[in-house]
């Protein structure tokens, strides 16, 4: 059966998964203008999970449903305006009913394919309104065609205008689509739709197959913009259908302009099939989980593929994003990231390096010579991570204790001892370089045992403070400064804005987890007027072995990398680098 086709543009809704649910209103308006010109049947807008779904669970949207819908409404005339609704996220009274008032034409009511009954009470209310209602059976691969039909027959009786099969995990192929869609088309009176995802690169083929098999309502996105691997690409599908002599009613030329516009603005990051999205598909998981999987993998230090396998075995459905973190937590510690390969003993020497101001274009100023004190540590470290306690300390930054500071050189500093003359030198240097006075308010983030704070005080600064995440380090500080130090993560400093005249972060930045860097720098910027970051970097010959020198290094970048990163993150005060050369014995 081949008849008319309505192409439904889900860019601004499903694409919002990829855009962090924050496609700007101005782009929504321009996109809708384009959609009108192209003659697109309907445009779906809103948060990736639909009305009322702006949440920590899935992602917060900076715009209210009302703002998004009204923006699109004002730009659309012939093209219909659609939204997505998932019962359990949205309620009729607080989300759906207002959306009717804002002028929505089509409601896509989505449920997991086996759980359509949670939409019955919503449909009872919605189908009596003067709007078009299409039931979306999401994650359709988790049902048989017979189950899909029996769910659809009830929905048809409830009065919906159409039923759409969502391949949310992108794991159907043309044979599956043909089987399901033709079976539904033979047995239902309402329009049949298909919503394809591209995890296996089959979205276009599947969508075309759905049309051949009797679907008349086909979802697609400009540039394929969508969750995870992306959706059926609208301009490709429309072009291919036209080539096959099917009238899509679209102005293909305008569609290309629309595509150009989109790819240069809100879909600048093109969706792609990558190992994560392919693995999601093979495990039957919603493509939109990708971002959360990567984040959970980072937070709990677990291989993302282990998470995907675990979630797949639990049949996690779209909307259960929290379970990704639960799964990562349960898997944490099950995979060893650190190889104990018996490695080579290393020793190191330091090269003091000064970068002239001119080399650092976008950062205020880079300065001065840094003296390091490690040369007294003569023992070498090898890769021996047998100690479980050490592993615990390494993996739990706030638990860094004896092993890290005062254990053997194999497990940390090998004795983090005071070298007062060195610290005093450094203190005198910064006092003169930055014109610090007796009453300057100064903070040292990552102060460890407070040696630098002590040196500042010994050199006449009254108002010097220190914070460190390690309780052990602070408890080991000398009594002279203990009351000026406290245990605190640098991600949240308990001080008012611009409280400190000067802030130091010595040898700390490379130990901040990369994902936390923006927050760390933001806090530095917030609480201080000026700041200095001292960052150790590997010399060109030591890039590979640097990680073993700095046992806790989360970020082992070269100085060039650091400058780019700092600039990107908007840091605009002082920075200095110490180049470290590591010699293999």
């Amino acid at each position: 059966m081949r008849g008319f086709v309505k192409l439904h543009d889900s860019t601004l809704r499903d694409g919002n998964h990829a855009a962090g649910h924050s496609i700007p209103l101005s782009y929504i308006q321009l996109h809708c203008d384009f959609a009108e010109k192209c003659g697109i049947h309907s445009v779906e807008v809103g948060h990736g999970n639909g009305l009322g779904a702006s949440s920590l669970q899935v992602g917060l949207s900076p715009y209210s449903d009302e703002e998004i819908i009204s923006t699109a409404r004002s730009a659309l005339n012939n093209t219909k305006l659609a939204v997505h609704v998932i019962p359990g996220f949205a309620t009729y009274d607080s989300d759906v009913s207002p959306a009717i008032d804002y002028g929505v034409d089509i409601f896509r009511v989505g449920t997991h394919c086996t759980e359509a009954s949670i939409s019955y009470s919503l449909l009872d209310k919605l189908c009596s309104q003067r709007v078009e209602v299409v039931s979306a059976l999401m994650m359709s691969h988790m049902s048989t065609k017979e189950e899909l039909l029996s769910a659809s027959l009830i929905l048809q009786d409830k009065g919906v205008n159409g039923i759409s099969i969502y391949d949310s995990a992108g794991c159907l192929d043309q044979d599956d689509v043909k089987d399901i869609i033709s079976y539904l088309a033979d047995n239902l009176d309402v329009q049949i739709g298909f919503h394809g995802h591209n995890n296996l690169g089959l979205a276009i083929a599947n969508s075309f197959q759905s049309y051949i098999s009797g679907a008349s309502l086909i979802d697609a996105s400009i540039c394929g913009f969508g969750a995870g691997a992306g959706n059926t690409q609208l301009e490709t599908l429309a072009s291919y259908m036209e080539k096959k002599g099917i009238d899509t009613g679209l102005d293909i030329c305008e569609l290309f302009y629309m595509s150009d516009f989109a790819s240069s603005t809100y879909c600048s990051i093109k969706p792609a099939t990558d190992p994560i999205t392919i693995a999601c598909s093979l495990n039957g998981l919603f493509s939109g989980f990708k971002k959360h999987i990567l984040k959970a993998s980072k937070v709990y230090d677990v291989d993302p593929f282990l998470i995907i396998r675990d979630l797949g075995s639990k049949k996690i459905v779209a909307g259960q994003e929290d379970q990704i973190y639960v799964s990562a937590k349960s898997l944490a510690g099950s995979n060893e990231k650190i190889n104990s390969d018996g490695g080579k003993p290393l020793s190191f020497q330091l090269i003091n390096n000064v970068f002239p101001y001119s080399q650092v274009k976008n950062i205020d100023k880079v300065l001065f010579e840094r003296r390091r004190f490690y040369s007294e540590c003569s023992t070498c470290r090898d890769y021996d991570f047998d100690s479980n306690l050490l592993k615990f300390e390494i993996n739990n930054i706030s638990e860094r204790g004896f092993h890290y500071y005062d254990g053997s050189r194999e497990t940390g500093y090998g004795g983090y001892n005071p070298f007062p003359e060195k610290w005093n030198d450094l203190a005198r240097l910064v006092i003169s370089e930055f014109n610090l006075g007796v009453s300057s308010k100064i903070l040292d983030i990552g102060c460890a045992k407070g040696f630098f704070v002590e040196a500042l005080i010994n050199n006449g600064i009254k108002d010097a403070w220190g914070t460190d995440i390690s309780k052990y380090a602070i408890e080991s500080a000398s009594l002279n400064v203990r009351q000026r130090l406290f245990v605190q993560s640098g991600l949240r400093l308990p001080f008012p804005d611009k409280y400190f005249d000067f802030l130091f972060s010595l040898d700390t930045l490379q130990e901040i987890p990369f994902n936390d860097l923006p927050f760390f720098l933001k806090e530095i910027k917030r609480v201080s007027n000026k700041s200095l970051l001292l960052i150790p970097v590997p010399s060109p010959s030591s890039i590979d072995s640097f990680k073993s020198w700095s046992i806790m290094s989360e970020c082992s970048f070269t100085k060039e990398d650091w400058l780019v990163i700092l600039k990107d993150l908007g840091y605009n005060s002082y920075v200095s680098f110490t180049e470290i050369e590591i010699l293999v014995n």
Binding site: T114, Y120, K315, I316, Q320, D322
Partner: protein
């Protein structure tokens, strides 16, 4: 109240309704040392729940609330397991007849009681509402997190509760009332924690069925340590575990982002009526028994 005795060692109870919640209550009351089941009053003597009631209750009726009122002299406490709508009418009759009721529907009228937070208040009210399964599982944690945050000079700005229950444990009533569940739970959270809230419910079709799981997020301003957060919620968790051992912290409080606390709980039931995965049933029936025991001295 009812029975005319001021102090008695056992409570004489009636149950309204004969659905899953009622059937689980039969078994819990049967195990209780302090409660006798005098009457199960539903609308249909042929329902599975009514037939089963014959072996748990002294009498079984199909006259619903009318029979509860008729036998009010024999009854100290009523468990209402009907529906939110029916409870509103039931309550006006019960209250006119000086009968105290524990309401297991999401009606939202009556005082909301969370045993780990405000069980002492139950004594002062004759209509005690148990909110919802999501409320019973999340509010103890949220209340103590928010309290701790405020005591440490932080400000909780927003809380979010996302629960997943197994498809098998979600009956048609739950499905039809999903909006009610969301609105009542959210209102109660905001009332207990004095903060804006959002509630999400997912139904998971996995087989074998998943246990009820509830994830909690709190956005706040200020700073806290994860360790202190864990301490702040360990007491309420221990409290709940005393009457529902399957209530378990799955992910201890974690700062997923600098100003976002995340933690997760799983709730397994006793497996009295429905299997253990239906923690969503047990968390509310177990709370009902807990409250009834609390009221015992009063009755």
């Amino acid at each position: 109240m009812g029975g005319g005795q001021t102090m008695q060692s056992r409570i004489k109870a009636a149950i309204l309704g004969s659905g899953h919640i009622s059937r689980d209550l039969y078994r819990k009351i049967d195990r209780s040392e302090f409660i006798d089941l005098e009457l199960v009053a539903s609308r249909n003597l042929k329902s599975e729940g009514s037939i089963e009631a014959l072996s748990f209750s002294r009498s079984v009726s199909d006259k619903g609330i009318e029979d509860v009122i008729r036998y009010r002299e024999e009854i100290d406490l009523v468990f209402d397991c009907t529906s939110a709508k029916a409870h509103i009418d039931n309550y006006s009759l019960l209250s006119a007849n000086q009968l105290r009721v524990i309401d297991l529907t999401p009606s939202g009228i009556g005082i909301g009681i969370i045993p780990a937070v405000n069980i002492a208040e139950a004594k002062e009210h004759d209509n005690i509402n148990l909110i919802s399964c999501g409320g019973q599982s999340s509010i103890p944690i949220l209340y103590h997190l928010c309290k701790y945050l405020r005591e440490s000079g932080c400000i909780p700005d927003y809380v979010e509760v996302s629960s997943a229950i197994s498809s098998k444990s979600a009956g048609m009533a739950t499905r039809y009332n999903i909006d009610n569940y969301i609105i009542q739970t959210s209102n109660s959270i905001s009332k207990f924690c004095k903060v804006r809230s959002k509630v999400i419910l997912n139904i998971n079709p996995g087989d074998p069925p998943i246990k009820m799981e509830t994830s909690i997020s709190v956005l706040f301003s200020g700073l806290v340590s994860e360790h202190d957060l864990l301490q702040a919620i360990s007491k309420p968790i221990e409290y709940i575990q005393r009457y529902l051992p399957g209530y378990r912290l799955l992910v201890e409080p974690r700062l997923l982002e600098p100003h976002r606390i995340f933690c997760s709980i799983s709730v397994a039931g006793h497996g009295h009526h429905l299997p253990a995965y239906a923690g969503n049933l047990d968390i509310i029936t177990s709370a009902a028994i807990q409250v009834a025991h609390e009221l015992r001295a009063e009755l």
